[in-house]
Amino acid sequence: MTVDPAAASCPVPRTDSSHIRLGHGSGGQLMAELLGEVITPGLLPPGPMEDAAVLPDPGGDLALSTDAFVVTPRFFPGGDIGMLAVHGTVNDLAMRGAVPIALAVSYVLEEGLPMAELRRINDSVAKAAADCGVAVVTGDTKVVNRGACDGIYITTTGVGRIAPAAAVSAANAAVGDAVLVSGPIGSHGTAILSVREGLGFEAAITSDTRPLHELVAAMLAAGGAGVHVLRDPTRGGLASALIEVAQASQVGIEITEAAVPVPTPVTAACELLGLDVWHVANEGCLIALVAPEAADAVLAAMRTCPEAEHASLIGRVTAGPSGRVTARTPLGTARVVDMLIGEQLPRIC
């Protein structure tokens, strides 16, 4: 027997990188590789990794918004968690009349996430940000144990510059304001539900997730200070958005149920599962409360934008009761619109 003692020395990680490992979040070489090879390219500007990014003096008021994205499944008809994370925050900035100038992107990754999925999602973040004309300037990546995350969670935080004319707030609704919606509701939430594990649906529904800041710019150009409130009716759906505005502005809102556009397959999904489409989450539309004298101009401007060709007038702001939203039914009766209580569950009755 020949002995080569040297050949018996300590081996070291020869890691395959087909899946995320805990070590990818350790702050060491594996992490540097992950950042350098997978995450940074295309997403962040080249240069040294800094603790914080520098934004040159924006010269005006800013909007700041953050949202965590935890959607399951992470790929769904019409989109994925990456683009959603960009659109969601760009839209929240837009809802204050702001144009996005910088995004911070923070990932929590589950050990075992296929690297190919991370690449795909990261590319989607990069592409969505580029499409929105906003730079991702800083980010963070953590890895947690398998079973301590559902693949990937993304928190995006956006900084926006508020258009000088804009004074948009949930508290600004005034009696007589027109309530506008930029397009059909319910597509996003039902698209997600239709592919959610266990429900077993094949869908003809795709999420309408998209950025709305250009639409908002067009609306502000047309309506100026007449644009009182902007809101993207995400979680909680149209009902929550309207009730929140009614409460914040201490007004009533009356909506004509039949005027609210709902795509046919969305109606079908809601019928089948016993859901209220007004409680279903949206990602690609907004509601606007606009002074009556500006409403026509704003609605016309909206309809020139591809993201709002089907914009509609759906209701009016009333004197109250404060915080109360009512729906005028097709039969002409009025019902109080209630907020979803807990989560949405399929019903049998």
């Binding site: 039914t329 039969l331 049998i348």
Partner: protein, 369 residues
């Protein structure tokens, strides 16, 4: 959607309502048995459009609501066990038991899952041979064939880890019990279309005859409901008491024989307690002897605890119009829409909730209304 949209046409609804207006000459109290019908009536405001004197009472036709407290507590106890995957239709998850609900069990670590169909629970049992899968089989006659098929399926697959917690209830005994009550005001019934799609309406014929009460098998869309009301009022006005079928597109007199046969094979009649009503003889289904192996109640014996409902709630009187919400000691304090003690505080349409949402205070009295 075909067969839905055309039955929601407001123009045709108006025609039916005018027909009703010209038909009704006296006050009548109708009960729609089914919660699905109640949902349409309240949400669309159909009750507000009825001629003066035509009053709708909302029946006990919600299998979720009538599932007895004790059974909800049992479900919670079983779902809390290690190694159990507890499957349920979504609406049972929020129903409060004595000390919480199934969503709370899930939040505390229980494996509680929503299924769209009971066959999904069977699939879960196949996929998790080392776990016990328990399905909460609630429902009326409409749901019984589906739940029965799941049990048959599990039995034919020899699944030892699949069982059902059965709390099925039947409509005709409930109607009879309502009619037997000394203070009954119901003069006609809209029978539940989907229950009759399975069962047909032959069971209702002796009831209509014996109690001299019109029964109209009715669908769920606005036109269905208004037409059903028109048909019932027309019987009342002309002194008839028959079973009629408004929901002709889906219901035949003898129902669905295959589905009924499967119910009969898997289940057998039993006495059952209805939440808010009490025990009604032969008003429920339990597993038949042949399928007892899949009975969750025998597999997971649960210590029978004393169950309790709120004592302060005066829901019955409020809903019969004899007292106001503001007369209730709990109104606006212990009882709010988010923490209801009784049914009328439950949804925006409930009397107490409507009062509360409208900001009416305790000082308000009947006179001020």
């Amino acid at each position: 959607m075909k067969y839905l949209d055309e039955y929601r046409d407001p123009v045709l609804a108006r025609r039916l309502l005018s027909e009703l207006e010209s038909t009704a000459t006296r006050p009548w109290t109708l009960m729609e048995v089914c919660g699905g019908q109640t949902h349409t009536i309240v949400r669309q405001g159909i009750d507000e459009l009825l001629p003066h004197g035509i009053r709708m009472i909302h029946g006990p036709g919600c299998p979720v609501c009538v599932t007895p407290l004790e059974m909800v507590d049992k479900a919670i106890a079983i779902a809390s066990r290690d190694g159990v995957i507890f499957c349920s239709y979504g609406d049972m998850l929020r129903v409060p038991g004595s000390g919480g609900d199934l969503l709370g069990v899930k939040a505390r670590g229980g494996d509680v899952r929503v299924v769209y169909t009971p066959l999904d629970a069977v699939s879960l049992a196949v996929a998790n041979p080392d776990r016990q899968v328990v399905f909460f089989a609630v429902g009326f006659e409409t749901t019984a064939p589906a739940n029965a098929m799941a049990v048959k399926q599990a039995a034919s697959l020899g699944l030892d880890n699949f069982s059902v917690l059965v709390s099925h209830v039947l409509v005709p005994p409930a109607i009879t019990a309502i009619l037997d009550a000394p203070d009954n005001e119901v003069t006609a019934f809209l029978a539940a279309g989907h229950v009759c799609a399975v069962m047909g309406w032959t069971q209702y014929e002796p009831i209509a005859a014996a109690y001299r009460v019109p029964i109209v098998v009715t669908g769920f869309e606005p036109l269905d409901l208004i037409e059903g009301i028109v048909m019932a009022v027309r019987q009342l006005e002309t002194g008839r008491a028959e079973v009629e079928n408004q929901y002709v597109r889906a219901v035949r007199r003898t129902g669905n024989s295959r589905a009924r046969d499967t119910i009969d094979e898997v289940f057998t009649l039993t006495d059952r307690t209805w939440r808010g009503i009490g025990e009604i003889a032969h008003s429920g289904l339990r597993l038949s002897e042949a399928y007892r192996h899949h009975d969750a109640e025998t597999r997971f014996p649960v210590e029978r605890e004393a169950t309790r409902e709120s004592e302060v709630c005066i829901a019955g009187e409020i809903l019969r119009g004899t007292r106001l919400p503001t007369d209730c000691l709990a109104y606006g304090t212990a009882c709010t829409p988010r923490h209801p003690l009784g049914a009328p505080m439950v949804s925006a349409e409930g009397t107490c909730a409507a009062f509360h949402t409208a900001g009416r205070g305790r000082q308000a009295t009947l006179e001020e209304q």
